[in-house]
Point group: C3
Chain length 349, copies 3
């Protein structure tokens, strides 16, 4: 796949530099790994030095960025966003790579309602009373159990499981191996044994949510486990029963959210962060990677560490801890000096 | 689904209050989110205030709990356990939601022995010499490799993999995407390269064990990886080769147990806890969420933090750490005062 | 399965002891759990005491190890490596346990190129333009999307997903439920919402790599996510987009590697370790279990803790922290003594 630089300038809506003529771009790359025929971008001034060593001839740069003579700069408002547009231009992947049309080897219950232009891969299973919206694509070996519904324009990748009675909105993406609606971890202890508590609730996922590979979202014990519009979950995340996650929140890989916790809108959870149960992480809060959150987090607050503290405080404690061996030496030295003072005072008494 | 309050009282074995007549209950809810037609429960005195704001008309409460006039209390010994009974009453989910009968699109080897009343979903695979006990249900796209056996009354959810030669007891539940019997992580380093050590052991899972979605239990290098009766594992847990887990133990999501470690009976492991290899976590021990356990844990001991310490000690260290910046200031101030004392003493000498 | 001790000695290339006659070995075991008919090994001198209590009659030991009279020692250079050879001898598992021949219930696109002696299990899916090398085995319900290639002598276990356009080398093992080529977690924030960045790159996995059960390797946003020759990944690991992992590196379960990070050759990552994005972990480095790495790690360096520090330093800080409550008491006591000195000095002035 290749495009003339002229066409690229047209796509990104920038002026066509005079030297663009005859230049053909064959790929996208980072500035460090670019071949001469690639286009790359420079966004962070910290990487300016790479302009001197890159093999790229054409680089997307911010307005007024100084570039060496051998580089043809394409000046744009925001090089990173412009580059994202080019990713779309060079993208040859399409949802029909996953499934195209309804494969004869899929099993679709006659009582399921399938929208228009739906694709279902081989060995996908759609049970009774399932509803699938228009244009949705189900990958091979994905399983949708009874009474669940999926909206339109969704992509369900291979080997995904959606358990019974769950509600998935429009334009939702579920990466391979994700599990939606598994039983919550609910057991009543009685005389030293654990008795399973029926998990009769569901999972509801709103529009434009993306769920990463291998991520598990447990159904509610009763009521709903909810993930609201536009929220994005990375891979291998645990969302326990009755968790509520707001809109436009991003959660990095391997984070875990315990039962009944509420995560607000526009929250950021770092990778491998863990949130205890029955907490509230309020709107706009940020939780650092690997943080262990044991208390509510206030609006727009940033916390980190274990147990999680306000980030600035955690940094101060960390700095103090680094000084601790020094402090121990100092106190030891002071001990000697105090002893010496006490000795002198006693002598002179 | 709805029941008269009279019927509900009958089910839970309590007296029918005079006002129960004509009241119909349509659902179960938390006290905070209840609609007027729901029944909810109040167990923790800390939530007593919700009685004043709930929309519920009927609330399960402990004996003698004071309630506002507009609420009809159903007094029971243990409101939470009683509520669990109602979850079973309102539960419309059934194992036949997963699979009902043997689907013609399942592949079952003629040498497999299938018990009575077994259900197998579409695209499930049962290889040669597998044994499946009575009433067991295998979800769609679940795979049971050769020579494994599964007891009776088990539920194997969709997309589960049970590798060859593993032994699963009765009344075991495997949530979607779980993997039983994958190879242990065993490699012999030799001249800077890693050579695979054949993993010829198996996994044995005893009766009444539940394994969460996406959880992986590796087979033993030789002998058995064992999970004993009644133990419950949450989602996305790692159980390495040759691990032994006792009875009635609960392990929260994303915990990881390294090779050859022994976990006793009635142990509790918190979410994201990690246990090093070749350790013993003795009966009744508790390991806090995110704890990193590097030494044996004694019977009934509680540990937390990284590296894990006896919880009370970890709390004291945490409290001390919070005081550290203050301590540093104090030592600095003392430094000045000692210097001043030294100066005066010198002057007067 | 059983072998004469003579045959075993022949296999491991050691002298046949006189007493070997008529001894038949029926299994392999640890020294603690051995039955009389098992062979076991003793490698670590710390376990010498087990020689007095083991039920085994035959034990592989290092040259010159003193053993009780009732034990027949087989002296070898390296008992552990010798035992690994016996694991291969006693191994009855074979790749045809997973799939043998091309099952009529697999779906293989006519445009796929399938090598010689390939096995494909039931309900496996091989899409258009996929290439599969000789002798490779694909387990049931594994899915290979369009334009991906897999080398020869690979084992792909059940329920694995390989997304489109990925490149897998020779002698690669993918354990059950692994996901290769899922979308990277890339979203462009714009006016409070997250917009998906097309992930147009691929995953490339070199020869002799093993990937654990449930592990997820995201494709690159552009270019490649790479795992180089001979590297071994355990279960439930997250490898984010554009990560590069060198050769002969081992990564333990539940570790997570954030986007664009480079891991060198011969690196060791402990279980549940987390590495931030855009870092370099240089050749020969070791990262402790649960470490949270926020900065580059130098060649052959060992780091641990959160935030990760050079291990020796982390140990010193940990030791210092343990002394902190004592230090606080000491400073309090010094405070009193300084006050007393100040009082005396003032009195005498």
């Amino acid at each position: 796949m290749s495009f003339t630089l002229e066409h690229i300038c047209h796509v990104i809506g920038c002026e066509i530099p005079r030297q663009a003529e005859n230049i053909v771009i064959k790929g996208l790359s980072s500035i460090e790994e670019a071949r001469p025929e690639d286009i790359c971008f420079l966004s962070n001034p910290k990487y300016l030095k790479h302009l001197n060593t890159t093999n790229a001839q054409v680089v997307l740069v911010g307005k007024g960025t100084p570039v060496p003579d051998n580089i043809l700069p394409i000046e744009v408002e925001n090089p990173y966003f412009t580059f994202v547009k080019l990713l779309a231009l060079f993208n040859t992947r399409k949802s029909t790579d996953i499934a195209s049309g309804i494969h004869p080897n899929a099993v679709i219950d006659p009582d399921a309602k399938i929208g228009n232009n739906v694709s279902v891969g081989p060995f996908a299973v759609i049970q009774s009373d399932v509803i699938i919206g228009d244009n949705t694509v189900l990958g091979p070996c994905s399983v949708i159990l009874t009474k669940s519904s999926i909206g339109k324009d969704c992509i369900i990748y291979p080997n995904v499981t959606i358990m019974d009675r769950c509600i998935i909105g429009n334009s939702v993406i579920l990466q391979a191996g994700a599990v939606i609606g598994s039983d919550g971890f609910g057991f009543a202890p009685h005389k030293g044994r654990y008795h399973k508590i029926p998990q009769i609730g569901i999972v509801r996922i709103e529009d434009e949510v993306e769920i990463g590979a291998g991520t598990c979202v447990d159904r509610a014990v009763f009521g709903e486990t909810v993930i609201k519009r536009g929220t994005k979950l990375d891979n291998l995340i645990q969302v326990a029963h009755n968790v509520q996650i707001g809109s436009d929140t991003v959660i990095a890989s391997q984070a875990g959210i315990s039962g009944s916790t509420k995560i607000g809108n526009n929250v950021k959870l770092g990778g491998q962060a863990g949130i205890s149960g029955h907490l509230t992480i309020n709107d706009g809060a940020s939780v650092g990677a690997q943080a262990g959150v044991t208390k509510d987090v206030a609006e727009n607050e940033t916390v980190s560490g274990y147990p999680a503290k306000i980030h600035m405080k955690a940094m101060r404690l960390e700095a103090a801890l680094r000084n601790l061996p020094e402090l121990i030496k100092k106190v030891k030295a002071q001990e000697k000096r105090i002893l010496e003072l006490e000795r002198i005072i006693k002598e002179r008494s």
